[in-house]
């Protein structure tokens, strides 16, 4: 269905020239203006009840992530249990949205999370570099989907994008989307490698037209990862894509979001850029590992008036 909307945007078959003219219609981005807007949204004062609502919302939007070479099945099972019940002392805290792991860990995650309502997300397409021929990427996606992953986080071919081979990037996303079947596709732009906000905006438009359900900032393996300016530009692209095609695309900043305060800044930005309709795990996710405990800590502080050390929260 997403490819249908892409085809309608691109009026028929996708050719390099059509793709280029579609991307050239993307408005330019003024970095100074973006920085100012981010700073201005950053002054929103979210206190008391508003803060509690925002923090609980943030929990439900989290893709609890472990993407290390040293990951073990045991670690993934621990993470899964944390995902279902983030605070063992407080059953009122909702589950997170998903657990995000490497392909080899998908069976373990699926076994641990079956029937809990928490999704299994897997990074794929030879994350994080994606530096293999396309057929390998597709084969990996198919394997991961058949192992039971609900969500696929793919990486785009940044080299192809930066050298102007937009069709290659487009075709790979289309093929990945097909391989996903029912699984949701998040397309990682790896904005830290794109160099300019103009490129971020164009890559966003490209990924959405090719069939992304979500666009995602980063792998977390490259610095800078998610930043507020990059996220704002991607949210603005989502807004434009909606008015251009009617398509509704989700957003996932990932990497480097560690504090509850940061999380609230992101939610404020979503609210004031796309509207409250986007404030659902179906359309907004945080890719994070250490964020959850800080959010839990703030929730406990709001509820009890006391700060507890990190030793009172499970490290998984």
């Amino acid at each position: 269905m997403a490819t249908t909307s892409a085809l309608s945007v691109l009026s028929g078959s996708v050719t390099p020239a059509r793709l280029r003219s579609y991307l050239n219609a993307t408005p330019s981005v003024d970095e100074v203006g973006v920085t100012e807007r981010v700073a201005s949204l950053g002054t929103r004062s979210i206190k008391h009840g508003s803060k509690m609502t925002a923090l609980l919302l943030a929990v439900t939007m989290m893709d609890l992530t472990t993407l290390e070479g040293q990951d073990t099945r045991g670690k993934v099972r621990q993470l899964a249990s944390k995902a279902v019940r983030p605070d063992p002392l407080d059953p009122s805290i909702p589950s997170v949205a998903a657990v995000c792991v490497y392909p080899s860990m998908v069976p373990t995650a699926v076994a641990a999370l079956g029937g809990t309502g928490v999704n299994v997300a897997s990074v794929s397409t030879y994350f994080p570099s994606g530096q293999v021929p396309t057929p390998f990427k597709i084969a990996e996606v198919e394997a991961v989907v058949s192992a039971g992953a609900d969500e696929i986080d793919m990486v785009i071919d940044r080299g192809a994008f930066l050298c102007g081979d937009y069709l290659k990037v487009f075709d790979e996303i289309v093929a990945t989307k097909e391989a996903c079947g029912q699984a949701h596709l998040k397309v990682i732009l790896e904005t830290g490698e794109l160099g300019t906000l103009d490129a971020v905006r164009r890559a966003s438009m490209l990924a959405m037209a090719a069939g992304a359900d979500f666009i995602k900032t980063s792998t977390g393996k490259i610095n800078p990862a998610a930043t507020l300016p990059v996220t704002l530009v991607m949210l603005e692209a989502i807004r434009d894509y909606r008015s251009l095609t009617g398509g509704i695309i989700g957003m996932k900043p990932a990497g480097g979001i560690r504090t509850a305060k940061d999380a609230i800044r992101y939610l404020v930005m979503v609210r004031e850029t796309l509207g409250t309709q986007w404030l659902t795990p179906d359309l907004f996710r945080f890719g994070a590992s250490s964020l959850l405990n800080d959010v839990l800590m703030q929730i406990r502080w709001l509820r009890t008036g006391r700060y507890q050390s990190l030793d009172y929260f499970t490290k998984d």
């Binding site: 408005p27 330019s28 203006g33 929103r44 508003s50 009617g246 409250t276 404030l279």
Partner: protein, 488 residues
């Protein structure tokens, strides 16, 4: 179009009020003359009210001619005394000290500014006060370097400066006027606006704490008559006025032949020009900031928007959507974007011009936001289908009201933008560098912003021409208004 999830109404920003306990407001204020507060000889007082609640805040002295005379005499004595003989490096010490104290007490001043004037605390806190302190720092740096400011000009102060400032940026306008005057070695009699005198009086006490010699800065509060007494006083050597064009013209007439130096910073009807290749989303923010900053009570506000025809509808859609997210209400709420209109009088003026716009056939758009039941408030307003001949395209509204027109070619944009008796400010949004320069060459405005708007810096001169006044404030140029030279 795919169906969006429902609007969430469970996450609104709850009120987040700035506390005001750090501000001590007296019931009654005297005049600040010769280093201390004194009761007015006029024995008259005016009420200053909080425009957000319509509650009276304090009684403030209304200086009569005898009071003004006392203030000018004190300023003259200081000028002919220690201050006039003081070296620049010594004057700089006072100015640096004032700048630092202003930074240290920034929140206190910001809160008082908001209470007395109605501007959102986030603007008073993040813009007015930091910029006011920055002006003092900037001109403090010039005080001992005046001989390098203008080649071949021996720096000599003018004497007593009579300064009359408006209510839209009370502390910032005070800083724009006082800092260069003192840096150049003049003394000052300043008349704050009738509706916003409190921060100037707080500033007076700050200068006393800073040890500024008596008489160097005098504050005479009051209304238009007091201002007239200041500018017409024969002991005043230099008049600086910021305010309406009508009053400015009156001052210029009154001073003709008097030999007094004069600078005027008057009204404007700034043109904000959006080309089709603009960074659209940032341009929308620029337009919002251009017209809704400080409720539109900004002389350089971008109150006329010219959008290139090819993106007009698209741009307006975005602008209308953005308007929906503006938060109008209690100025002391940290999340308020648009605060209270400064006075009932100003609110009536805005209402009258908006009615005129509707009667003349322009299309009005306002978001459906709730307004507080008490206080002076006005919804952010867009007019489309505006003609050059409409009053809303010609007259300065000085409120949150934007008149939108379109253009086809750069030449047409210039022609329409320049079709006003004012000449204060303009903004151009395009990614094409050469077009920015082409436009800036042709726009008749003292300030032309490129891909931004309402950007101020103490190092950058500001001012207009034609009906927007003359003279520059800020930067090296701002010193010229307070020094003798070939220009005077």
């Amino acid at each position: 179009m795919a169906e969006l999830p429902a609007v969430r109404d469970d996450w609104d920003y709850l009120p987040s009020a700035q506390t005001a306990e750090m501000v001590a407001i007296a019931d009654k204020y005297g005049l600040f003359i010769d280093g201390r507060s004194r009761a007015p000889k006029s024995r008259r007082y005016l009420d200053t009210i909080n425009p957000a609640t319509e509650e009276p805040i304090a009684k403030v002295a209304e200086a009569g001619p005898a009071d003004v005379d006392l203030a000018v005499t004190a300023a003259r004595t200081a000028f002919e005394g220690d201050w006039g003989r003081m070296g620049g490096a010594e004057r700089a010490k006072y100015l640096f000290r004032i700048a630092r104290m202003l930074q240290e007490r920034s929140r206190e001043f910001a809160v008082l500014e908001t209470i007395d004037g109605g501007k959102p605390i986030k603007e008073a806190r993040d813009i007015d006060l930091p910029l006011a302190a920055a002006h003092f720092f900037y001109y403090a740096g010039w005080a001992d370097k005046l001989e390098y400011a203008f080649a071949g000009v021996k720096p000599e102060p003018l004497g007593v400066a009579g300064q009359v400032i408006p209510w839209n940026f009370p502390m910032l306008m005070l800083a724009w006027k006082v800092a260069p005057a003192l840096a150049a070695g003049n003394t000052v009699v300043l008349k704050p606006a009738e509706t916003t005198p409190l921060t100037a009086l707080l500033f007076a006490s700050l200068t006393a704490e800073a040890g500024l010699p008596p008489g160097v800065l005098n504050i005479v509060t009051g209304a238009g008559r007091t201002g007239a007494a200041v500018v017409e006083h024969p002991g005043v050597d230099k008049v600086a006025f910021t305010g309406s064009t009508a009053v400015g013209k009156g001052i210029q007439r009154a001073l003709a032949g008097s030999g007094k130096k004069l600078t005027l910073e008057l009204g404007g009807k700034g043109a904000h020009i959006i080309f089709e290749d603009a960074p659209v989303d940032q341009a929308v923010e620029g337009v919002i900031n251009g017209i809704f900053f400080n409720q539109g009570h900004v002389c350089c506000a971008g109150s006329r928007l010219f959008v290139q025809e090819s993106i007009h509808d698209h741009f307006l859609d975005k602008l209308r959507n953005r308007l929906e997210t503006l938060r109008v209400g209690d100025p002391l709420d940290k999340n308020t974007d648009i605060g209270a209109i400064n006075s009932a009088e100003q609110l009536h003026r805005i209402e009258a011009l908006v009615s005129a716009g509707v009667e003349e056939g322009a299309d009005l758009y306002q978001p459906d936001c709730a307004l507080p039941t008490r206080g002076f408030y006005f919804r952010p307003t867009l007019f489309t289908g505006v003609s050059q001949s409409h009053r809303i395209a010609q007259e300065e509204i000085f409120g949150p009201v934007l008149s939108v027109m379109s253009f086809r070619t750069p030449a047409e944009a210039v022609e329409k933008a320049n079709n006003t008796p004012y000449g204060l400010s303009a903004g151009v949004w395009t990614t094409k560098g050469s077009r920015i320069l082409w436009m800036a060459d042709r726009l008749r405005a003292g300030v032309v912003w490129a891909n931004t708007y309402n950007k101020f810096d103490p190092a950058s001169p500001f001012g207009g021409y034609r009906e927007s006044g003359f003279g520059r404030e800020g930067g090296r140029h701002g010193l010229a208004a307070y020094l003798k030279g070939p220009w005077s």
